[in-house]
Symmetry: C2
């Protein structure tokens, strides 16, 4: 197996610096192994209270791990990020407006910029930033257990799908549904996969469902056509959907996904400027995954 | 409106004492106004860790407000109940084994006793008790706002329904779905009802859905045939379902229900003895509802 250039980014600071200077502009899967990666949602402050409740009511797809103070000047990250049991989750010198590889910008609920490299011009003193846990956190332990996620092995982005599973609404946030990420596993490995990922309660935890029959429950029409990320493949490069009717033991396994709050925000018809990371392109934190594992 | 005898039970201690001595054996709705009421689940200790995660992943239907220590002799309630921000939630002299009006007992996942008056014989040192928030908590404030729940006005039990909305699984707890409670409200009052109940995040919070179209989303076939509690009625005593096709403004409004964890436990195929309150027949706590409201 060749080691891709991206894996040279082994510290969180490396990863953020590369993103800031547009040297790394793709998925952050596998970067800075062991470091917490975060989904990012930035909202006008008037929506912050409802969003906080949305996360509290839907912790599996929307695990809120930190947020900025309600209204703050953008002086330093360290002064305005709180949460995560009182630890700083970002070191000095991080700029949340530049340090994700790619961002999305929405105005009045319409996409204005897809996949832009920074949001410095859009950030205002009225914005509140929320960091949401990411399932990349448990991938290192899955790999260490001999169960590496397929997309990491193939250097692809994880496949993400819209579902029909409803979120519990919160104030302005109504009508949202779960977004899920998918990793294929052999049926006999699912219990071990569940046991490993269960501990990562702040980063989506164990799968929400698995098996081909789960597609109907989730409302996913075509496993080979995810809404975000790359289409999933078998280890020998075939379409995953081809396995469905043969006797292969590999089945799709679905986790809650941090794109969920971004979708929920889009459905809420908010006014003003909303910003987010581009799916798969996370903010890499100095905190390590173990900091937020359940003991 | 006549005042039923039950409403004389105005303190939590009154309510528990009446339950203990089998003087009050029906729904606790409206008893000890302002006091927290709790759903009760008592499990063999080997299932406690998974159950705790089930609640953490599904806080809307399963809001865990307190639990007993892992393994404890049954000396006094005060010494073994913890949680709820460090406050005692039960006064001295409460016995969780006798102080709910009615209990259910399951052995090896099969119902052994429905609606029995105490569980003293079944309790062992290996059991762990969980207290789950109850939507009765927000009914006093709804009533104060001129929006009394229909079932309280008519002195009936709240209607509760199975749904097809999946719970996020946790360890042995798989295949569970939401149970919901229902209160009918006029369409123009729903925003106010949402705003009032949103604050009660530890006791199910705001509704999860509303309107006649919600029945299909939830998988409820007949609003007049709830799985638990009493069939809902219009204020003039008609079946609620009769309204569906006329131009009345009243629609069903659904909240997460604390019967959910009891259902999830039953579907998990546990071995050993599991105990719970009978639906609607809560444990009345000395803590007041405001103790667990979000500020």
């Amino acid at each position: 197996m060749t080691v891709p250039a991206a894996l040279v980014l082994i510290t969180a600071k490396d990863a953020r610096s590369a993103a800031r200077h547009n040297l790394h502009t793709t998925s952050t899967s596998g970067l800075a192994p062991g470091h917490l990666q975060a989904n990012l949602i930035i909202l006008p402050s008037r929506y912050a209270a409802d969003f906080r409740i949305l996360c509290a009511r839907n912790p599996v797809p929307c695990p809120l791990i930190a947020e900025s103070t309600a209204v703050g000047r953008y002086d330093s990250v360290k002064s305005w990020i709180r949460g995560l049991q009182g630890n700083d989750i970002l070191a000095d010198g991080c700029d949340i407006r530049t340090d994700s590889p790619r961002y999305m910008v929405y105005k009045d609920s319409r996409l204005e910029k897809a996949s832009c490299s920074d949001i410095t011009a859009e950030w205002t003193e009225d914005h509140v930033a929320f960091l949401i846990g990411c399932s990349y956190s448990f991938e290192a332990e899955l790999t260490a257990a001999g169960l590496p996620p397929r997309h990491a092995v193939l250097h692809r982005n994880v496949a993400m799908y819209r579902t029909k599973v409803p979120l519990c609404p919160a104030g302005v946030f109504q009508g949202g549904t779960y977004v899920v990420s998918m990793r294929p596993y052999r049926k006999q490995d699912i219990n071990l996969v569940r046991n490993i990922t269960r501990k990562y309660g702040s980063t989506h935890g164990e799968p929400i469902c698995w098996g081909w029959e789960a597609l109907e429950d989730l409302g996913i029409r075509d496993i080979d056509d995810p809404e975000w990320g790359d289409a999933p493949l078998t280890i020998d490069g075939r379409r995953l959907g081809e396995l469905r009717d043969d006797d292969a033991e590999e089945v799709p396994v679905f986790w809650g996904c941090g794109v969920t709050p971004q979708e929920a925000v889009m459905r809420a018809g908010l006014t003003g400027t909303v910003m987010a990371h581009a799916p798969g392109h996370m903010l890499v934190l100095d905190a390590i995954d173990k900091d937020i594992m359940e003991v």
